[in-house]
Amino acid sequence: MVKTRIQLKKLLSDYGMLAILLLLCLFFSLLTLKQQQPQGQSAAKQLANAVAQKASPGERVLVVAGTQKASQDTARMVAEMLGRRSFSRVMEVRGTPRDLRLALDRLRDESERPAAIAVTSEAVEWRVWEILPEAYPEFGQVTLVTPETYYWPDFLKLSNLLAVVDRIVVIAIIAIGMTMVIITAGIDLSVGSLIALAGVISTLVMKQLGGLGAPAWTVAAGFLIGIVSCGLLGAFGGFLVARFKVAPFITTLALMMVARGLAFSITGGFSIYQVPDALTWLGQGRSLGIPNTVILLAVLYAGAHIFMSRTTLGRYIYAVGGNEEAARLSGVPVAGVIVFVYIVSAVAAGVGGCIQASQLNAGTPNAGLMYELYVIAAVVVGGTSLSGGSGTILGTLIGAFIISVVQNGMNLLGIESYTQNVVLGLVILGAVLLDRLRGGASLAFLTGRGSAD
């Protein structure tokens, strides 16, 4: 009895945060279960069959699609299938409701009438169908054919899961650096402003080097310069903290203002746009069908995880946070370690800034406002102790995802913005509180490295 209780407790403490994340996913999946419009081969087949039943091959048939590519592809397939069944007068209409109206007007002017209209995905919602009898009495009774809908949670759609990653990638990457800083019992408030600074500097460099049509290397050069600038500021801050023992809170607060001010004064307060097309590759492009942001996130987290759990420098970081004096006495280069973590944090913020610039296709001086707080929240929700010495990289990743899933889920449910902040605040509080109640030894299984408890 006591033994099972202990086992249960261990299970909870090891997998607690992950369990919360999965519960949240399940929860939002259930709530966003919704009718979906099918697309592609099966939908096309369905539509073609239905049309073949309701109309004869000689009659005029319309296939309507919206602006979406998948919808247009479906329409094309329907037309092809009907063509094979010797429907010779199939007409495809693509675009907006306006395009449909113009096509219908043309038919009327030629005193024709469609025997059947096959409607794909988003075009089903158009109100043209409702006004059809009044606006086109000449057509008489027109048969509308729509594909059968099915049920699936919006939350679990691939496009949405990618959106969940997309929205958190900047925060998650910066959280790697922040985890290291917090493990040394420090804090870095400057990361939000560094996002803006990196984005602004890198886009400005790209613009100077050529603007809209500039080759891809200008983008790489811009990113590099943006990230290095951030790294230098981070090194400066780390040096102040390590050498002069200035409180990290104050040092990085000052740097936060400096970086934000620089971002605004460099740009005169305006966003920088009309940048090279290649800029969007990082934040919006795909390699092998997987979004680049997802790949980058996975690579960086895998690297950081191995670094923190398998290398000497990684262990030094824990040692400095656990007990600085003891670490010094056992030969850990404390000052060097501290400077290092602030550089990592600033560089991570720089990378985050480049990703954000790429996602927005612009450098914005007011980017990343308040992001430092979301980053810190992700780290703490992930089980890292603000007093230093304990925490894991993968825990942080889970923390970041908890925040992202809650934000995304609430948007999917259409919860009002005011309420969203309240809920997000409560979720962060609740997650941290649960972590403390469990005894704080969260996610140690992921690294094999125990925490202070």
């Binding site: 929860f27 602006t67 959106a163 609430m410 948007n411 009002e416 979720v427």
Partner: protein, 325 residues
């Protein structure tokens, strides 16, 4: 120890329960009423009563046509707004009403929505990116440039076209840039004798408007009037003028005709506050969507002209008394 553990796990479950209930409470009721579809709306700042009003009117208007409108706060953060657009797209909303927090960084969200077949309508602020602008179905907003000209007209009238004046601007926001442009152009075209000694940002809010105007009064104690590009900055400037004891010889002109601005005009704190019509904008946006769905022809851009709002307009104004826009 055992009892302590009991207590802990109890707290654990109570917390988890409360957690779930909060979310169900917020989300559950939305699923009950089947509507024609949902419209996603995101604006630069939902804590600003101007946008709150637009959101409310849009919600009512959309409901009249059987749509549910979800209004989200862009928090003046282009990245946040971009994420919200992604969520609207993932959710296959019927339409998106966008008020860009940053007109130059809003293009990507519009392109994404267009690719997913979701029509985008912008209001109040336009998207700057030409490619994205072409994808926006229609835009409706105030004619800020013409409103700025109205402010200049009042300025020449109240100063008898003589003396030094200051502008409290907000150059981060394109609508405010247009106001200043209209203001300056009107003065130039009418060969005004007014001398604009300084133009400084009041960041569109009362605190910064106050601070900026205080500094302006230190540097240029001889100004005769101040133009604040929106009511909060104008009212902040007025507070600075009062603090300096100069309310009898410095005139302040605002912009917006917000409830606070109207009241200030009535109390003769502001001379004029060119009026915007957020209700018309909200109704117009919903109408544009309905017309779109029916396949009617739509103008690409609709600008609603502003109107003077001076003391005579305020005296019997119902909306001022009821503290409405």
């Amino acid at each position: 120890m055992f009892r302590l553990n009991m207590g802990r796990s109890l707290v654990y479950w109570v917390l988890a329960g409360a957690f779930a209930l909060t979310l169900v409470g917020c989300g559950g009721n939305r699923l009950e009423q089947p509507s024609r579809g949902r419209i996603g709306m995101t604006c630069m700042d939902l804590t600003n009563p101007y946008f709150k009003l637009i959101a409310n009117v849009m919600q009512k208007e959309a409901a009249r046509h059987g749509y549910e409108l979800v209004a989200l706060d862009g928090n003046n953060d282009a990245a946040k707004q971009n994420n919200q657009m992604s969520d609207f797209v993932a959710q296959k909303y019927s339409a998106i009403f966008l008020n860009p927090a940053d007109s130059r960084a809003a293009g990507e969200g519009v392109k994404k929505a267009h690719a997913a077949g979701i029509p985008v309508f912008t209001f109040d602020v336009q998207v700057a990116d030409e490619e994205a602008k072409a994808l926006v179905v229609s835009h409706i907003g105030s004619d800020n440039y013409q409103g700025g000209r109205l402010a200049a007209e009042s300025m020449m009238e109240v100063t008898a076209d003589r003396g030094k004046i200051a502008i409290i601007s907000y150059p981060e926001i394109s609508s405010c840039i247009f106001r200043v442009q209209g203001f300056r152009d009107y003065l130039k075209e009418h060969h005004s004798q007014l001398d604009i000694v300084t133009e400084l940002s009041g960041k569109g809010n009362r605190n910064d408007g106050y601070a900026t105007a205080t500094d302006v009064l230190q540097a240029h104690p001889d100004i005769v009037a101040i133009f604040g590009v929106n009511d909060p900055s104008a009212l902040g400037a007025y507070a600075a003028v009062v603090k300096a004891g100069r309310e009898d010889d410095i005139t302040v002109i605002g912009f917006d005709a917000s409830p606070a601005g109207k009241q200030a005009v009535f109390e003769k704190k502001l001379y004029d506050t060119p009026q915007q019509f957020p209700r018309k904008m909200a109704v117009g946006t919903v109408d544009a969507f309905m017309k779109y769905l029916e396949g009617d022809a739509l103008p690409k851009t609709t600008l609603i002209p502003c109107a003077h709002y001076r003391y005579a307009d305020s005296v019997n104004d119902e909306s001022r008394i009821k503290e409405q826009w």
